[in-house]
């Protein structure tokens, strides 16, 4: 298993390095003149030259790239052009909203998706199965941001139970607190989770059904174990292997969804930050936020790979 993990770790580091090079190339090299992009078409040559000097764009590409990556690794990020604040500070502030939102959505996705998937598989071709599958087919077709709008229409406009958007902050000093903060993230998390749970339910159902057809399941039943005991003791652990892979892939969609849903609910997270940065042509912020989001996807997939090795015993002897 250690060889497997080492290989995966090497792939993880290489992916991050290539991703950083790509993001850097797209935002710092491809545009031609970054200072021109930031200042717009009406900028004078003098102001462009001044900004180039301020951003260090007059240095060679390789030096700029290594400075950027080295700075990120040592916790020293670039200065945002529009906020005049280190990007790390800006991102850390916004992550206080985005991370809890993504985690909450993931928890809802797993709880709803896996429960419904197991329920449907245990009642294959019965009314419960057909109902869950129809619901999940519909769920896959619903864009998360539209579902978010529908939730606002119902709970904020019609019932007036919650605000239509905004975030009160996590502390009393901000005018919010833990529970008001959590409440503000509840609807966005449900909107994000609904679509992902629909996908996960279908995958869980087919993984469980596939495992139920295995010989060892038949043997366990022949030994006299009840259907329920076989399902919980033998089937679920094995069925979770493909489900884990899907969960890793779903995280990428969840991150994208978070960016969109934050804009629907006007939450001051990473998604809002990156769109404000695009509007302000603050490419330094766009660069660091995009790399962070890519890194989050890569890290989660690495963790899934590690969990894979833990859940699937077949990986151990062959790779140890």
């Amino acid at each position: 298993m250690s060889v497997f993990l080492l290989k995966r770790f090497a792939t993880f580091v290489a992916t991050l390095l290539v991703a950083s090079a790509l993001v850097f190339a797209v935002l710092d090299v491809l545009p031609g003149n970054v200072a021109q992009v930031i200042l717009g078409d009406t900028a004078t040559p003098e102001s462009i030259a001044a900004l180039e000097k301020k951003l260090g764009l007059d240095r060679p590409v390789l030096v700029r790239y290594t400075d950027w990556v080295g700075g990120l690794l040592s916790g020293k990020s670039a200065q945002s052009y529009s906020y005049d604040t280190p990007t790390a500070t800006l991102i850390a502030e916004r992550l206080q909203v985005t991370l809890p939102l993504a985690l909450l959505a993931m928890v809802f996705t797993v709880l709803i998706g896996i429960t419904l998937g197991i329920y449907a598989a245990a009642r294959q071709n019965k009314a419960g199965d057909v109902g869950v599958m129809a619901l999940s087919q519909l769920g896959i077709a619903v864009p998360s941001f539209w579902f978010a709008i529908l939730l606002i229409l119902l709970f904020a406009v019609k019932l007036q139970w919650v605000n239509a958007g905004g975030f009160p902050g996590w502390t009393d000093a901000d005018g919010g607190g833990f529970w008001p903060g959590l409440l503000a993230l509840l609807l966005p998390a449900v909107a994000l989770a609904a679509v992902q749970a629909a996908v996960l339910a279908r995958w869980t159902r087919s993984a469980v059904l596939e495992t139920l057809r295995e010989d060892y399941v038949r043997t366990a039943r022949a030994k006299g174990l009840s259907r329920r005991a076989v399902l919980w003791k033998h089937v679920l652990r094995n069925a979770m292997i493909p489900v884990l892979t899907i969960l890793g892939l779903q995280f990428a969609f969840l991150i994208s969804g978070t960016v969109v849903v934050e804009n629907v609910f006007v939450l001051p997270g990473i998604g809002r930050l990156v769109f404000q940065a695009i509007a302000n042509r603050d490419l330094v912020v766009v660069r660091d936020v995009v790399l962070l989001l890519v890194a989050m996807v890569v890290v989660v997939n690495f963790v899934v790979d590690v969990l894979y090795a833990v859940v699937d015993p077949r990986l151990k002897p062959s790779d140890a």
């Binding site: 864009p143 941001f145 539209w146």
Partner: protein
């Protein structure tokens, strides 16, 4: 000695089976409606979709305006009809980009194996870390938002999807006896790919293309909602939702119609894809 495993026996038989397949029939009907709406909008719409008519703003549904009007008095039905065009345009081109490059890479990986296969798969893994939205943010920040930005961003994300599906399906074909026979007969790997692999994986690719088309419609709507996709004056369902959000207390239905249009279009394509999979691969259908 080409062997197309999944081809239907006769086209007449296939059509009859397709029409009797509930999932395919409902999906195909919804998809045809989407295509018809886009085609109709090329020659006719109740009103010019961008025509501003402030005296008649925020009107409820009526005989004159089937789905009412928005905050600028524009006819919602006309915008929905013309908006179908943006969805189809982005869907077609994004799938074409992913299909052409991804399938070629998948076939190459499967035919060559070894380090080429490993490299293609690692490239696929890497591209998965860039969901369409992140690519659109990158491209939008530099080249500005627009239809092309959306198409490229979604298309690039489709490449690894097609590469993986193609490679997986093609590897299964390469293990068949008739491929071994073709190799023994002296055919090179590219002839085998063209004569045996491509025809046998075509059905899997068609199903995948249908599903990716649906995904592209949702992605286009999300990008347009955020202002990164289709730009005014061309109507798009995503941007209609964005504009409707500011009027939710006065005209909540404005936020419902474009979303329903997206759901029906995506549902239709997904159901059609599921149906096609059952019809083109009866073995899989029995297992499901």
């Amino acid at each position: 000695m080409s062997a197309v495993l999944t081809a239907p026996a006769t086209s007449g038989g296939f059509v009859t089976r397709a029409l009797r397949h509930p999932s395919f029939a409902i999906g195909a009907t919804l998809t045809l409606l989407l295509l018809a709406a886009a085609a109709l909008s090329l020659v006719w719409s109740p009103y010019p979709p961008a025509e501003i008519d402030i005296p008649h703003k925020l009107q409820a549904a009526s005989a004159a305006h089937w789905f009412g009007t928005d905050s600028l008095g524009r006819d919602i039905a006309s915008q929905l009809l013309v908006g179908a065009r943006a969805s189809i345009l982005v869907g077609v081109f994004a799938v074409l980009i992913g299909f052409s490059i991804g399938t070629a890479l998948g076939l190459l990986a499967s035919a060559r194996g070894g380090w080429v296969e490993e490299a293609v798969m690692r490239l696929s893994d890497f591209t998965f870390a860039f969901p369409a939205l992140l690519s659109a943010i990158l491209l939008g920040a530099i080249y500005g938002p627009g239809l092309v930005t959306g198409i490229v961003a979604i298309g690039v994300f489709n490449i690894p999807v097609f590469a993986r599906v193609t490679r997986g399906a093609a590897n299964a074909i390469w293990a068949r006896e008739y491929v071994l026979a073709a190799r023994a007969a002296g055919k090179n790997r590219w002839h085998i790919t063209w004569d045996h692999v491509v025809p046998n994986i075509a059905s899997a690719l068609i199903v995948q293309a249908t599903n990716q088309f649906a995904t592209a419609i949702i992605a286009e709507a999300a990008l347009s909602y955020l202002g990164l996709g289709t730009q005014p004056p061309m109507p798009s369902w995503g941007r209609m939702l964005n504009e409707a959000q500011t009027q939710m207390f006065q005209a909540p239905m404005l936020a419902v119609y474009p979303g329903l249009a997206i759901v029906l279009a995506v549902l239709g394509l997904n159901l059609m894809g599921d149906g096609l999979r059952d019809l083109l691969d009866p073995k899989l259908a029995r297992r499901r």
